[in-house]
Assembly symmetry: C2
Homo-oligomer: 404 residues x 2
């Protein structure tokens, strides 16, 4: 292992590949018959071949948690962040299934551990799908031997499809950088249609890297990145029983990330970018959605105020339907800011769409409506509120809302 020492900061570039492109990873997916649709992929396995793999995990804040979350959260603590295997199924959330549900999660993890030859504590499980229906573990356990046989670094693209439920497209991203001539990768898949009303669904994401990162530091980096990405596309508190993000770091690139170093800042930036790219895919994936909307709040006195306003505006169905119709109805934006619970002076607010000003000093600037509509017609647009009261800022991603 060598610490990263840079002359210049190498860029993270999006490249073709999957979450098994980082060195040491293999994956496979299959149709196990958990989903009702015949032949639909619904079971996936992700494995790191490095015994020194670090693992981090973040889970739903919902008080009602699914069995796989209970199991995996416990494993994460017991193994102090060591894990090599992820088993994930769609079609059944294994939530609200009582003790039998926990035993099912346990049986799946044990079977996978036995087949791969790792301690069962090093297997994480995740599920998404219908709540309250018992999950028969045999359906999964019986398919595991074939899935292990099928593990490869090349065909892992199917994993992104196997975790889909209400998603309309698979969400996958691979970033690559070459510090000092040695490639390092950050990869991930995700599922979820985020806050896209009324199809709020479980958010799952699985991330891999071949950088070497100590488990506790990996956990810290993951939390920070998730706060700036996945937590910015879902409604406060609107977490499902199953929301889970797992990250595995194989270390096989030979590049080590040391806390506080210049390399750490570079790696963290890459991880944030990876998560934000996946989060934006979730935001974009709404039923009938046509536009990706970035909500930016600037000039707030406190971060909490910026954050509340960004969330309220991004979550407002009235704002989202206005943008769907390219209607420059800024009253709805200001109204959402007003009920957000944030402290601000409405008579100082400035509102812009892609830099085109609609409001200054809290009132209409008398803008050209046709020009405003052209800005709102774009496929990707930014709604900015400048409160002119301080220096705090926040952003959120969402999509427009149509009613077809």
């Amino acid at each position: 292992m060598t610490d990263l020492i840079f002359r210049v900061m190498p860029n993270w570039e999006p490249v073709e590949g999957s979450l098994s492109t980082p060195l040491g990873f293999r994956a496979a997916a299959t149709a196990a018959g958990i989903k009702k649709t015949a032949g639909a992929l619904d079971l996936a396995l992700i494995v790191s071949d490095s015994p020194d793999t670090s693992a981090a995990g973040l889970f739903t804040t919902n008080r009602v948690v699914a069995a796989p979350v209970v199991f995996s959260r416990r494993s994460l603590q017991e193994t102090q962040g060591r894990a090599r295997v992820i088993v994930v199924n769609s079609g059944n959330a294994n939530a609200c299934t009582g003790r039998a549900g926990f035993r099912a999660a346990q049986a799946i993890a044990r079977a996978a551990a036995r087949l791969i030859g790792s301690p069962s504590g090093q297997v994480r499980v995740a599920s998404t799908g219908v709540i309250g229906v018992p999950l028969n573990p045999d359906v999964i356990v019986d398919r595991l031997p074939a899935l292990v046989q099928d593990l490869s670094s090349e065909r892992a693209g199917a994993v992104a499809r196997a975790i889909m439920t209400t998603d309309t497209f698979p969400k996958s991203c691979l970033l690559r950088a070459e510090p000092n001539g040695v490639p390092v990768h950050l990869a991930g898949v995700a599922k979820g249609s985020g806050m896209i009303h009324p199809r709020m669904a479980t958010m799952l994401s699985f991330l891999t890297t071949d950088a070497a990162v100590a488990p506790r530091y990996l956990q810290k980096l993951l939390r920070a990145a998730v706060d700036l990405s996945f937590n910015r596309v879902t409604v406060d508190g609107d977490t499902s029983t199953n929301d889970t993000v797992f990250m595995l770091a194989s270390g096989l690139s030979g590049q080590s990330i040391v806390p506080g170093s210049k390399g750490a800042a570079w790696f963290e930036a890459g991880l944030v970018e990876l998560c934000q790219r996946l989060a934006k895919m979730i935001a974009r994936d709404g039923e009938g959605a046509k536009k990706l909307i970035q909500v930016e709040v600037r000039g707030a006195a406190r971060v909490v105020d910026a954050d509340r306003i960004a969330r309220a505006v991004a979550n407002s169905p009235l704002v989202k339907t206005a943008i769907a119709g390219s209607d420059p109805n800024w009253g709805r934006i200001l109204c959402a800011a007003g009920y957000s619970g944030a402290e601000f002076d409405a008579s100082k607010v400035e509102i812009l769409v892609n830099g085109f000003r609609l409001v200054r000093g809290g009132i209409d600037v008398g803008f050209d409506e046709a020009a405003a509509r052209r800005e709102l017609d774009r496929k990707e647009l930014t709604v900015r509120l400048d409160l002119h009261q301080g220096k705090a800022s926040a952003q959120m991603w969402t999509c427009d809302l149509t009613h077809d």
Copy 2:
């Protein structure tokens, strides 16, 4: 004035009439051309002929408040709860309209005061409609003389229609009781399609009574009744810039309501019933909504927990779409409870629809699905969660959510 002394508690009965049926009230409505639709009623006047009329008012908690709210809130304080006149328009919210908007509200109140012969502080104004468009006060002021001419106790039914915006039906209610052989009335109109997504609109309600109630006590009673009714159909914080409830008490029935008396409890119960009837009409008035849903939470350790769960369940689009399809998907109900922020033990929860049990001890009881669907097919239904942890309870009203 005589204090109410009862032998038996007289029932409040819903009867035919309007908000000018209580003694001392007259009202009128007209089409002033504020709404774009030609001939649509958009201006109304409510007047009490008693100089001793008490007035109470509650306003939006939105930080961005419309000019009529600023004006009326100030008047309420300055006059210490004395007012006789309400001028209300639909079609323009007079919100985010700067100083000109405040002057417009002022001009309307002054003109009405002059015509009726009351101090201008005794006029309350309210507006609902589009935000951010200047309201020309002359459009209203010019119509006031004819409106004053038209004031009557008989034709006031038009007021409920004149305050409608996205509402699909007028909302009006009159309750009558006869303590000691003397009739007392409680009447009201309301507008709003409440939390019915995505048409959350301004909530307005105007209430009248011919009971005699001192202004400060009237304010206290109104606040308590609104907390148990209108505040139970709108999303926490999803208040518009214009939400307003006004109540006028003429005292002309000769029946006086004395704080702490048995008559006070009886009057308060009537006021709560009036407000709940109007609130349910708002809950029922959703685009495409077919069912009125009452969410009841019982057995919570604390009221705050019961309240959070009731709100989260009632506001969950996933719950509302499931009920629209008569789908006994209790997982969505439990999931909403889980992200509500309430503290409870998921393994103790019982869930019932109209008394039909779906869940006990946090898991499916193995109910007959056809029977559950029959309960969910009803036009009015109750979803009950019993937490089995204490004695606190809360309820909310909402409607089902369809996507046509």
